[in-house]
Each structure stands twice: as structure tokens, then as C-alpha cells.
Symmetry: C2
Subunit: 315 residues, 2 copies
């Protein structure tokens, strides 16, 4: 018997599109099929065509299902710009500001982003991560009580302070984007090794975790000097650079004036396996233990909550 599908949910970031065809079983959305596609920054503004090429076979089989979307796709550089909702805010509030439009017969709902602004003028924005935070909050009652720091590594790492079920404040580091740029276009890396060498990674992380004030731009050149000195193999340079960047990111998060690290109930990592492992390793070097959750789980739980609120709360 062919199973009916109820909704398509799409986590469409700058680097990747992740689409899930889902069945509503009355609890969390259940994934029937999933597809990976190009990120919003990579489709040269051809968003409709990109989406069709990814979900077209589902449309053919199940008709014009509603589509829930979050991420970079709703930014000023995306398909349809959605507003930001301001912190502090319980992330389910995004359902009040969904941007709805039609495409190829599908009703498309884009989740708004979240912004924060502090008295000192520090401001930040996120798109997509609010859906993961929402999903993470539904995982356990304890997540909706007390203070927690979430870290979502990726092209742009987000550090998000959650308190009593609300997003209070957050910070972005462009660690992943910098790593990519420096690997492919800089004088620092001459060889593209694929595997991470954990010793070289830790050597790099140690430098920035323990560095003096603001030594980051100066520290980067050590990728080159260590190779010149014969203290770093060319094929481990990428791992060392990854350590430098993640160490710098983690150090800044641990020293951030936006939260006090000693007051937090926990640090939770949300992301894909190898990258989370490197952040986890770096946090461990500072004696901090973390809980890791796969991004697929938080994504689907977040969209489940949005779906239920939008389509089922009136029922």
C-alpha cells in the first residue's frame, strides 16, 4: 500500500539544502525520503528551479504538498526575505510571522529569522538555527528549564544562549567560511588532505585556546612558519589550521561577555558528526563536557512543532 505524505520540510542553508518528505503520524513528523541539494548561495538566484529539481519527483507522486522552509533561503540574499523576530523569544513564535507564497502549486511557508540586539549595540542574526533550537527544546523537559549554551557549528558557527525555553542572545563566528577560504585560496595550504589528523588539530587548537589577546590574525601565519621549520607536515597543515580556527571560536565563546560559562547547566552541540567531534574535542581541552545531538533530529523536531502549530492547532 502506498503511504500518503503530508508535508515537505526544507532546511535550506547557504551551503546545502536538506529536504525531507514527511508523514504526520500524530507525533513527530516521520521521514519517508530525504534529498540533499545545493545551498542557497550556490544556485545563482534560481531558487524555484533548484527546488523543483530536488522535490519534483515528490510533487509528481504526492501532488502539491505544503512546504515548510527555514534558513538562508529567507535572507535578503535568498528567495523571499522574511522578517527577523527579536530576542528574547520562545522560538515557536516564528509561526506568527511565516512568509507564505505559491510556487508550482505548492504553498510555501518560510520561517522568519531571529535577531538580537544588546544595550552596547552588539547585534546578531540567525536563519535556520531557530528551527534547530526549537527542536532541541522539545527533546527533554530539562531543556526548557535553566540556562543552556548551544553551539551549532557550520559555515557560520552559532553560539546560542537559551534560558527558560527562550532564545536570549547569540553570537556568530564565520569559522567554517574562513576555513574554506583559507584552504582553497591562501598561501597557507598547499596540499588538500582529506582526513583530519587529530594531533595536528590539537596543536592548532592549543595555540588559539591559550593565546594572548587578539593574536588570531598573527597566529594564522604559524601554519606557514611551522611548515618552513619542519615542525608541521604539509599534509597535516589543514588539520592544524582547522584547530587554530575552532580553538579561536571556542575561546571567544568561553570568554563572551553575553553569558557566564560557569552559570550554565550545559553546553550542547548540534551538528553533523565529524565537525561536532572537533568542537567537542576542543571544549574537552578546556575541561568542558558537552552533549551532542545530530542536526537531523533537531531539524525534524523543530519542523514538527511548527507544522503542528500551523496546521493542527485549530483542528
Amino acid at each position: 500500500m502506498r503511504r500518503q505524505a503530508d508535508v515537505i520540510v526544507v532546511d535550506w542553508g547557504a551551503s546545502f539544502l536538506r529536504a525531507y518528505l514527511c508523514f504526520d503520524n500524530g507525533g513527530e513528523l516521520e521521514v519517508i525520503e530525504q534529498v540533499l541539494g545545493p545551498g542557497a548561495a550556490k544556485v545563482s538566484q534560481q531558487f524555484e528551479a533548484a527546488l523543483n529539481s530536488v522535490i519534483g519527483h515528490w510533487s509528481a507522486q504526492y501532488g502539491a504538498l505544503p512546504v515548510l522552509m527555514s534558513g538562508h533561503i529567507g535572507s535578503s540574499l535568498g528567495w523571499h526575505e522574511t522578517p527577523y523576530i527579536s530576542c528574547p523569544v520562545p522560538p515557536l513564535e516564528v509561526t506568527k510571522e511565516l512568509f507564505e507564497f505559491e510556487s508550482n502549486g505548492h504553498s510555501i511557508f518560510v520561517v522568519p529569522g531571529v535577531s538580537c540586539e544588546e544595550p552596547d549595540g552588539h547585534a546578531d542574526v540567525m536563519r535556520g538555527e531557530e528551527t534547530h533550537v526549537l527542536g532541541w527544546l522539545t527533546m527533554d523537559d530539562s531543556h526548557r528549564r535553566g540556562k543552556h549554551l548551544l553551539c551549532l557549528p557550520g559555515t557560520h558557527t552559532k553560539w546560542v544562549l537559551v534560558e527558560e525555553g527562550e532564545i536570549k542572545v547569540f553570537k556568530t563566528a564565520i569559522t567554517g567560511e574562513l576555513f574554506d577560504l583559507l584552504c582553497h585560496h591562501s598561501v597557507l595550504i598547499q596540499q588538500q588532505q582529506s582526513e583530519i589528523d587529530i594531533r595536528a588539530f590539537e596543536q592548532g587548537a592549543k595555540l588559539t585556546l591559550e593565546s594572548e589577546l587578539g593574536q588570531f590574525v598573527h597566529g594564522l601565519f604559524s601554519v606557514r612558519t611551522l611548515q618552513v621549520q619542519g615542525k608541521l607536515d604539509a599534509d597535516h597543515a589543514k588539520s592544524y589550521l582547522s584547530g587554530l580556527l575552532i580553538g579561536s571560536d571556542v575561546r571567544a565563546a568561553l570568554m563572551a561577555p553575553q553569558w557566564r560559562i560557569d552559570e550554565l547547566a550545559s553546553i550542547s552541540l548540534i551538528g553533523s558528526h565529524p565537525l561536532c567531534e572537533l568542537f567537542s574535542q576542543t571544549l574537552k581541552m578546556k575541561g568542558i563536557t558537552v552533549h551532542s545531538t545530530q542536526e537531523k533530529e533537531t531539524c525534524l523536531r523543530g519542523f514538527s512543532a511548527i507544522y503542528r502549530k500551523v496546521f493542527k492547532s485549530a483542528a
Copy 2:
């Protein structure tokens, strides 16, 4: 009457080649003609062909003059790798380790680089800047006495501590390379404005000059958030980013444990006009006055000293 030429000197960095046809008048070398060419990182290992295309017309007119070269061309990624001489060292010592070879009948002499290594394992390398430092030292007797900090902005900014005529220690920041990468390949910059807007520049410099520990990787994202908030024009984003990077570079130099800023006789900038002006502006924001010298002058003075030592000291 056709004037005889005596030597060609070439400052061949990663980004640019600057060649000068010179006449020995018994004092400083006198430039007859100068040519700009492609940097060593841009000629795909075709160094001999690149040099010939730049100096070929001089060879045709004056024969196979000796050629003095310094810079990236002598690195492991260059034409012929030369050694590093270790700090502390008076830069004229480079004449003891010149690497000599023949190319198209020319005798070519490549100046070695300089390296430094400290007890804590901090190490660094330079190639080309040692020639400028040598030239700067010859400009005034006072330069050869006391402690001075030199700043040579460029693709890789060098901060060089000179004491009693010796290079003691130095630090590299890849500020210029990062700026180039972020301008052309990152999500931060969408518009390529050509003029620097000094207000946006100072806004960026202020953030990193006054930032908390290690906030650099986090601070970079403000290029985007300020645009999203309407607090930064898209066509001023590049100026703001330049300020962020130069502010971070200057702050790290002012806090460097390798020297005490309050013990220095002066800070001297060596470079090209617009870039030196931005570093000078940033140092002024911290109440520091600087002396600026054009890189052409320090380059020619440095090569003059090397030329005289190698070709004239036995005479």
C-alpha cells in the same frame, strides 16, 4: 650620450614584482627605469620567462647586467630557495648567504630570508622585508641606535623590532591576504566599491581595537549584521571590513609580548601610500604617532647597501 647601467635590482614579492634598472653613482643606486610585473605566486612557476618578459629590453640594451633579487622569489614556493639567517642579526649579514645562479647570461643573486625563534617556540619568517629594513637603517644615524618598531603593511603585514641596528624579532599577520579573500569570496561583501570611506573604516577599526579577548572571528560577522540592520551601507562594507582587519592587526601588535610599546623610540611605517595611511590612521586612534617612508626608498637603499658590500667592498 647613452648612460651606462650597472645593476638591476628586483623586489619580487608574492603579489608583485618591482624591477629597477640602476646606475652606480658612488652613493645610493640611481634608478634609470622601473618596471612592474607579476608576483611570484602568480607566474605558475615560470620564473625565468616572467623575468625575461620584464627585463628583456634592458638586457637587449645593456647586456647581461648582474641582478639582485629579494622577496618571495627565494622561498620554497619560489624560483631558487635560499636559506634563512637567524635573528638577532644586522640585516647586512644577508650578503654572506646570497644564492647565486645564472639565467640567460645574467648572474642572479638572491637575498636570503630572515627567521626568528623565541624560547616559547614562537617563530616567524620574512623574505624581502629584510632588504627594506636594511634600507631604513641607512636613512638616519638615529635608526641604528635604540629600539624601533617597524610596520610593513602588505599582503602579509610584518612588525619588526629593530634594536641597535639589528633585527631582534618580528611577527607576521596575514591581514592583506585575509582582506582580499573576504572581499572576493565571502558572504560578507556583495559590492566592490573602490574608494575607502574613512568613517566606515574607523567604525570597523574601533570594534577590533577595543574588543574583548579573541573576539575577532566573532566580530567579522558584524560586516553582515550591520548591513542587515541598516547601520552600514553595502558600498561601505569593504571599508568597514578593512578597518576590522587593520584594527585587529594593530591591536595585536600593540599588545605583543615580544616588545613593550612604551619602550620604543618610534613606530615607522614602510609601504605604499594608501595602505600606510590606513595603518597610520589606526595607530593614531590609539594615540600613537608614526613616521612613514615610501617602500621604493627603503628598497633602493637596501639594495644599494647590498650592492656596495658585494661588488665594491673588495675594490
